[in-house]
Symmetry: C2
Subunit: 429 residues, 2 copies
């Protein structure tokens, strides 16, 4: 687009461009919805092969993105996510082959039951249609999202961060080659070819062409998309995850789980951000546990009671209970009993993942039932909240919504179920 054009014309161009993308996606979605398992798997294998064969091309294109990003002063963590290496390229190809190896969810028939009228009723799993994915400058997401949408019989419109523009277009070329070789339309996966932000505005409001939007990225991006979208959004906001150490916990398990949930990785959504400890075991467990944290460089912020037990404990403010640190910081609170723990969680949790450590059956069952989060655990680290760990095979994101998909979203989350009725001439009387 020529820089001399005025803004209104550019907006109109983008609108038209996105409309064309939408129409092509809708048409392609009808074809991939009917594609058989073999064709989809061939496409996935072909894309993987094309990615491997084009390694040097991908590295060259990626180098352009990385050098612009550095020139623009992008932070190190973002540069890191943007950068492709031979290893990450192999990883993309491997990921696509893993998706090919998953069972095809489409066409799956379940719950077929005869009714007194003589009809047999059940459900068939079908694609959603067209999925729009908006993500940050992480080129590997392009391959991953394309693979998941394709295997689940959907057409995809991918809109990656502008810093990854060259990398994403190079990966798109591999995706198109793989689709073409498998006899599927290239338009089944379209990578938006403009870095203008107005394209996102169009994508999330084209109800006639897009069935669902999956945003991947920071909380503010997702909140803005959810606010402005006219298309349903499968969204993942923040992960303020809790571990509650009950007075009837096995303290060895408690220390191991609380350590792992916080320190296994800091920048991930399923890391624990707040530790709750029953007052009866606080003196036994907190000093030892906090010694581990301190040794690993975790900053501790606690309520009065926990400050009395641990010298390194700073004072937590109300704000801390609301905060997803994504960093080596942990807030700690001592609670009187299970009720206080559940209250705290249902008040402050982002409904992502929360875990209790206890040997008491009734408390475990109450926690499972009463904590209103996408994943609720007993005696396990919150770090397990993940599509691979749950056996979904792959993951397009983790939903903190209750409508449609909740928790880690795999292939099934990208599908719907229709009712099917098998009759033999039955009529309503």
């Amino acid at each position: 687009m020529r820089a001399t054009r005025n803004t209104e014309n550019i907006m109109e161009d983008i609108k038209q461009y996105m409309k064309g993308v939408g129409q092509q996606a809708r048409a392609a979605s009808r074809i991939v919805a009917q594609a058989d398992t073999n064709a989809k798997n061939h496409a996935l294998e072909n894309i993987a092969t094309a990615i491997l064969l084009n390694t040097s091309k991908l590295l060259t294109e990626n180098a352009k993105d990385v050098s612009s990003a550095k020139a623009n002063g992008l932070d190190d963590a973002s540069i890191d996510r943007l950068t492709l290496t031979e290893k990450t390229i192999k990883g993309m190809a491997e990921g696509l082959r893993q998706i090919a190896a998953l069972a095809d969810p489409i066409g799956e028939i379940s719950d077929m039951k005869y009714r007194p009228s003589g009809i047999q009723v059940g459900k068939m799993r079908v694609p959603l249609g067209v999925i729009g994915i908006i993500y940050e400058s992480r080129p590997n997401v392009t391959a991953d999202a394309a693979g998941l949408c394709l295997k689940s019989g959907n057409a995809a419109i991918l809109r990656g961060g502008s810093e990854a523009h060259h990398s994403n277009q190079a990966i798109a070329a591999c995706v198109h080659q793989g689709l073409r070789e498998a006899g599927l339309p290239e338009t089944a996966v379209q990578v938006v070819n403009t870095t203008d932000r107005a394209a996102v505005g169009e994508l999330i409001t084209m109800k006639e062409y897009v069935d669902v939007i999956v945003p991947r990225g920071g909380k503010s991006l997702i909140a803005r998309i959810s606010e402005e979208a006219k298309v349903p959004v499968i969204k993942h906001l923040d992960g303020i995850c809790h571990v509650y150490i009950d007075d009837e916990a096995d303290l060895k398990k408690a220390i191991r789980i609380a350590d792992n949930a916080k320190t296994h990785r800091y920048g991930v959504c399923n890391a624990m951000e707040t530790l709750l400890v029953n007052t009866k075991v606080a003196a036994q467990v907190l000093p030892e546990l906090c010694g581990i944290y301190t040794k690993k460089g975790v900053e501790l912020r606690g309520d009065d009671a926990s400050q009395r037990l641990v010298a390194e404990m700073k004072a937590a403010t109300e704000e801390d209970w609301h905060t997803e640190y994504l960093a080596p910081i942990l807030s700690v609170r001592i609670v009187a009993n299970l009720d206080e723990a559940i209250d705290h969680i249902n008040t402050y949790s982002s409904q992502h993942t929360d875990s209790i450590v206890t040997e008491n059956y009734t408390k475990a069952m109450r926690f499972l039932r009463e904590v209103d989060s996408a994943s609720v655990m007993v005696n396990a680290s919150t770090r397990f909240a993940d599509g691979f760990e749950y056996g979904l095979g792959a993951e397009i994101g983790i939903s903190t919504d209750k409508i449609h998909a909740r928790g880690p979203v795999g292939l099934e989350g990208l599908t719907s179920q229709k009712f099917i009725v098998l009759g033999n001439g039955q009529i309503r009387v």
Copy 2:
């Protein structure tokens, strides 16, 4: 509210009133979510009893609504839906008892599987939270919707048509009595106590207090609500349902099904609106079938080919294929083959319910897979698309969406599933 107040003040009052309703619903939702099956069933039985014991009160209140509606010139069909009789009141009570008899969906645990890490992962069914239901002036929906929301562990905010105001408040009193007697909060079911339309605007945008909106009513109401809502909507737009009579159909079944689908009831969403007939059997089947329709007073509008076969056939316009008549009118088209039939359906169908009549296995399977509608049938009348007929036990509506619930929505459609993880001290390595 005093009529002398200015509009801005009234708007502010309604905003505050609805906020209060929302806050109470959210608080009540936490309690009903944890209510055991027995308490919920007791409440349902108590409400049914209260409704029966208050029959004369309900009739008196309803008479006020009916007389105002007549004075305001409401049409006969609407008056009919508004009017309560001893029989419809008994029906309401019976409906609540049927809901009590259904299995409790809440807390249901499924798919628990061990993973290589040693954790066991599966799902637990949980309520959505707070459900807002917006419906026309049909008082029986008040009892029905209250019952479904309660049994599924949700709090409900009900907003019925203003013409049914007195009736709805009288039914609400019975609901509250039943809840109270079962030890559940009356605020678990709130009937909005203002007829101002601004209340609907608040209800559909209070994201912090309402989890899902179910509109029941005309297409324009539902379209407007979907457009303006900030809360997810389970919506049922129109039912443009098709029956396709294949050349390999058993013609006796075909005539029986096509007759039933159109003439069993005219004003319902699962009635057939367009009949597609394979050209090879059109001359055999259409004259006889159209004789039945004509005798029943069904107006026929067909394409050129069908007009040549049936004298009574008027010319159909493009508009006819897009029209949900809800009346004794049928559009008829003769198609060359299954592909043309599926193309017609996927182009014009409202994705509600479509049926094929055929004895051919491969065509039946193709139709099931390729027709993109909420209910797809083989050799059965479209009239079966119904929560009771499908064995869901009850129905809050029929969704023509693909996200979350699709097709008839029973108790399950008012629930979500969270992941639960049972561990024994496992950590991520």
